[in-house]
Amino acid sequence: MADITLDAKGLNCPLPILRAKKALKEMASGQILAIEATDPGSAKDFESFCSQTGNELVKASEANNVYYYEIRKS
């Protein structure tokens, strides 16, 4: 289960990534950040964000135009 949930719904690029980065900064290694977003571009962006920062994208899904991600902090 997620340790912290970030509501990024209604925000557009690059805000979901910037908010996620800010949230991760406050978290401990191994903790999980859940993110809800409505920006369709966020799907690719969170993949790229994780592959470049070394954090692990544990989960990525979409339902009713809401995108849901879980990121484990490295």
Partner: protein, 156 residues
């Protein structure tokens, strides 16, 4: 941070729309753990002002989507630029696009380094006190010192 990637951007434009690319790319790169430096020159200096008044103009920009088709001779009427700017800001807010002020604040927070081109500061008679605090003033040689060490260099 050892092996930290570096991004250097030259930002030359001072309209509301073109203030976005350097700040979006700069803040995003910072979130990806890049060391980021933006060199602001010519009209880009407007974005560094403490009190910004960035505008957008449909004039000379036939690619700008307009809610209603507007002949060029109407676009030159007084107040049209302000109207286009207000409409663009409203549209951006409704689509969840960050404001320039917000992005600038996030850039500062994430330690994006700002260099103002001293030559254009002089050219436009800007005072250092008009520009944001914490800005470095330097010239082309300083940019190359940053750029030669950068993984990515962008001219915007």
């Amino acid at each position: 941070m050892a092996n930290q990637k570096k991004l250097a951007i030259i930002a030359t434009k001072g309209t509301l729309d073109f203030a976005y690319p350097p700040l979006i790319l700069g803040t995003t790169a910072a979130a990806l753990d890049y060391d980021v430096t933006i060199f602001w020159t010519f009209y880009g200096l407007q974005v560094l002002k403490k009190k910004t008044n960035l505008k957008i103009s449909p004039l000379g920009n036939p690619a700008m989507p307009m809610p209603v088709p507007m002949p060029v001779l109407v676009q030159v009427l007084p107040g049209m630029e302000d109207m286009a700017t207000i409409m663009m800001k409203q549209k951006m807010a409704s689509k969840g696009v960050a404001s320039i002020d917000d992005l600038m604040e996030m850039a500062i927070e994430s330690d994006v380094k700002m260099i103002a081109c001293q030559m254009t500061v002089d050219l436009f008679d800007f005072k250092h006190s008009e520009l944001m605090d914490g800005v470095e003033y330097a010239g082309a040689a300083r940019f190359f010192e940053v750029a030669q060490d950068a993984d990515i260099v962008l001219f915007i």
